[in-house]
Amino acid sequence: MEDEPLNIVLFSGTEDRLQAAAVMASGAAALGRKVNIFLQYWGLEAFRKEKVSTSLGLAPEAGARGAALVAEAAAAGQQPWHATLRVAKELGEIDIQACSLSMDVLKIEEEDLDPLVDGVEGVTAFYLNAGDGHILFI
């Protein structure tokens, strides 16, 4: 299992879910596992250059109390999701690919995306690279 990559389909674009994906990716990278991240829909939208560092909200279940606790963690120095991903990319092999269908639907061009994104691919390439590794859908 440890030789197989961890594969994350990142569909969600809220900060908490992006952070959860970044945490899963960096943990796997620290263990020396390759990580493939496939960006779809709102997960892809969050990687637009002008959006990455902006406030992207939280999942609805956060509520007011959850939002206050997340804000408190950020104020205490917890790094944002994109910083977690950048550090993880320096540490290990993390390949982030945009789903070409989502690029079409959301009218996103490759140059609109943050440099964290390594390229664009279709679902077949994603499955090929995923091998027998786990696939997480976030």
Binding site: E2, V23, S26, G27, A29, A30, L31, G32, A73, A76, G77, Q78, Q79, T84, V87, A88, E90, L91, G92
Partner: protein
């Protein structure tokens, strides 16, 4: 206590999961085989995470102690 010399110390106090492990993995990359790394952390998941990381990567967890809410780990690079 280990009488061997610690080659590097990583202060990960105040950092939340997974940053203590990420910083440890980064630091270990720069060490030579057999060298010791000391890590200080306050993340309550650290005890299980460091044991799991050592087991999975083959680096040795030589010592682990906790004092005043600070976890201290000494690892030997494989």
């Amino acid at each position: 206590m280990s009488s061997e010399q610690i080659a590097q110390v990583v202060d990960a106090k105040g950092l939340s999961c997974p940053m203590p492990i990420v910083k440890t993995a980064q630091a270990v990359k720069g060490l030579a085989s057999g060298q010791l790394l000391e890590v200080l952390a306050t993340d309550p998941g650290s005890t299980k995470d460091f044991a799991a990381w050592a087991k999975s990567t083959g680096n040795e967890l030589v010592e682990q102690t906790v004092e005043g809410g600070v976890y201290r780990f000494v690892l030997r690079k494989k």
